[in-house]
């Protein structure tokens, strides 16, 4: 099931939200600089 996740571009630093399906690799492109160095930001678990 696709869910929303936060992503960060490691080229320009742009952060954005996009659809994300766990365990299904997907080609990602930063909407700002078009780089593929896009990393999903995992939200830290609350203590």
């Amino acid at each position: 099931m696709a869910e929303k996740a936060k992503f960060k571009c490691l080229r320009c630093g742009h952060e954005y939200e996009d659809k994300y399906t766990p365990k299904v690799p997907q080609e990602r492109t930063c909407p700002k600089c078009l780089s593929n160095s896009v990393r999903r930001i995992e939200e830290k678990r609350k203590a």
Binding site: L10, P25, E27, S35, R39
Partner: protein
């Protein structure tokens, strides 16, 4: 088809489904389910006595639901073998009280209600995939009134209505009043070339199909007026432009513009189309007795199942991906498998026949040779290092590695004929139990060492896959595009070959920035190897962050062979990033990684001592 059915070297398994495929080029094992027809196809003469006695009547799928068929039927008149089958979902059954009339009517006693599905196992050397495509269903969009108005039909439905073997025996009538429509409008690109509805690609065949239909109409009914609403007419095949001109000269009106709205006159059931004729820039309303939607084609709904069955990948449009678009257009990435027809892309009959002939010729090369030349670059397993984890078998895009079994002490084995040499297994094996023939670990590490031996702070280490990114770099060079000269490329066959340790080694040796570059997902020459590259890079980003190293210093990029511009742009951007990496940061990274290595060694030694 009749010739195929009679050919002594061909075994036709109609009404059958492939259930499982194992093996590799030259040695495929295929399990086929031959579905029960409940009619002995060898004895049936298609006399139709059974059909006359069958009391069930259901919509005929072949006739697009315009007429009905019986529960015992032949799917289409030209079906080979020409034998009946029973549709058990609708048949009343063999209960004498309920029915069984077909059995009584059949003098040759061909009907067998106890017939079971048969599982057939065959060994084949090559496989040709000719599974076809689906036709786009315009029900999901209602701007053309397909769901609302009976006199809006698809090009497939038109085909049945005008066909001599169709439900009206070729007497063309419109559905509401069964009268000959005098004004017919064709709307092109329904479900094609749209980012909103249907598919983005051009379906290739619809323009010529409509031109053919307009000529058919003119031939059968010279008084019928036809109008074609189009974006642009694509008539690029041999003789196609002539056909288009003939259609125009015969009086068919071609209007450049797609109707924005279609509505019905409730009294006459005629249809009104509102359209902007873009050649004159005016909005017009056209009245028609019948509207034909020229629907596109799309990949089969069960394409994923087919892909899983044969270890194939698909391109962005959902059709099957070929091994190489120019040099191996009929070969699948998995050796020994070939494509014919629309399973690979939308194409007309002529192109399908051409591709089928090419696929048959390619397959016959394998069969006639009797032996297979294996790739020079394949993987080898060192069983002394293997710990039976099975990762290699799981990541292999070609299913070329048999799974190990720890309990029985069976190591994974690499089927050399099936291995394509992507190197994903070697990169994913944490035990380093897999080595490649060529592009070995020590060869790649030696290249990293050589790059960073002098002036390391000025260098960008870039790993590029042979087929796409490296070729993209070539294109940038031959196109004389300017990009920084301090980028040092290390070529691997696939980005999947780039082991985590190569990247860590580059940072350990003082690389300010590392790039890992491969094919776009839909272009990957090793089916799905590129997805493992992405997973690995994501793992590495996490690891670098954990160690206190900026993950930004490892960059990832998908560059195709045609993207010379992108290659140059990426290199310029990376150079800007490299300039911001300080000497202090690089030295700290080297120290962190040296310590981490020491820690890992100590841990390993402790584990070894503990047994």
């Amino acid at each position: 088809m009749m010739d195929a059915g009679r050919h002594q070297n061909l075994t036709l398994l109609a009404y059958s489904e492939v259930e499982h495929v194992t093996g590799y080029i030259g040695n495929f094992n295929v399990k086929i389910r031959k579905k029960a027809r409940y009619v002995n196809e060898d004895e049936c003469t298609a006399c139709a006595d059974c059909v006359e006695s069958c009391p069930v009547s259901v919509p005929d799928e072949y006739q697009q639901g315009f007429s009905s068929r019986k529960a015992i039927y032949i799917q289409l008149p030209q079906a080979v073998p020409s034998a009946y089958l029973i549709d058990m979902d609708n048949c009343l059954g063999n209960n004498p009280i309920a029915c069984g009339k077909c059995k009584d009517a059949c003098e040759k006693e061909c009907i067998d209600f106890d017939m079971q599905d048969e599982i057939i196992d065959i060994e084949v050397g090559a496989i040709i995939v000719a599974a076809g495509m689906d036709v786009y269903d315009p029900s999901e969009m209602d701007e053309f009134g397909y769901r609302s108005y009976e006199n809006v039909i698809t090009s497939m439905e038109f085909e049945r209505l005008i066909c001599a073997g169709g439900p009206t025996e070729g007497h063309f009538v419109r559905p509401t009043d069964y009268k000959l429509p005098k004004r017919i409008s064709f709307i092109q690109c329904v479900g094609s070339r749209s980012s909103k509805n249907g598919n983005k690609y051009c379906s290739n065949i619809c323009c010529m199909n409509t031109i053919k239909d307009t000529l058919l109409l003119k031939d059968h009914y010279p008084d019928v007026q036809s109008k074609v609403f189009y974006i642009d007419i694509r008539a690029f095949g041999k003789g196609f432009e002539d056909l288009f001109m003939r259609s125009k000269e015969s009086g068919v009106q071609y209007i450049r513009g797609i109707p924005g709205d279609v509505w019905e006159d409730p009294k006459t059931k005629n249809l009104l189309l509102s359209v902007e004729d873009t050649t004159i820039g005016k909005v017009q309303v056209h009245e028609s007795d019948l509207v034909v939607l020229s629907v596109g084609v799309e990949p089969r709904k069960d394409m994923k199942k087919l892909q899983h069955l044969l270890t194939l990948s698909n391109s962005v449009d959902g059709f099957l991906l070929e091994s190489h678009p120019k040099l191996k257009p009929v070969d699948a990435p998995t050796r020994g498998i070939f494509y014919a027809g629309c399973v690979e892309s939308p194409k007309d009959i002529k192109d399908s026949v051409t591709q089928a002939s090419a696929a048959a010729a390619r397959a016959s090369i394998i069969l006639n040779a009797g032996k297979v030349e294996i790739e020079a670059i394949t993987a080898i397993i060192d069983t002394d290092k293997c710990n039976y984890c099975g990762v290699c078998a799981r990541v292999c895009p070609y299913n070329a590695i048999t799974a190990p079994d720890r309990k029985s002490g069976v190591y994974p084995t690499i089927i050399q004929a099936a291995c394509a040499g992507c190197g994903t297994c070697a990169s994913e094996c944490v035990q380093d139990a897999i080595t490649m023939r060529h592009f070995k670990d020590d060869q790649i590490i030696a290249q990293v060492d050589a790059i960073l031996e002098e002036n390391n702070m000025d260098k960008i280490v870039a790993f590029a896959c042979n087929w796409c990114s490296y070729a993209g770099g070539d294109l940038a060079g031959t196109s004389r595009l300017q990009y920084p000269t301090n980028v040092r490329l290390i070529r691997t066959m696939c980005s999947g070959r780039v082991d985590e340790k190569f990247i860590i080694h580059a940072f350990k040796k003082g690389a300010p920035l590392v790039l890992l570059s491969g094919c776009h997902f839909a272009d990957c020459h090793y089916i799905s190897a590129v997805t493992w590259t992405q997973r690995r890079v994501e793992r590495l980003w996490n690891k670098l962050e954990r160690l206190g190293i900026r993950p930004e210093r490892l960059q990832l990029e998908w560059i195709s062979a045609a993207e010379g511009q992108k290659f140059a742009k990426v290199m310029r951007e990376l150079e800007e990033m490299r300039k911001k990496v300080t000497d202090k940061e690089v030295k700290e990274t080297m120290e962190i990684l040296a310590k981490d290595e020491e820690k890992a060694k100590a841990k390993k030694a402790k584990q070894a001592a503990a047994g």
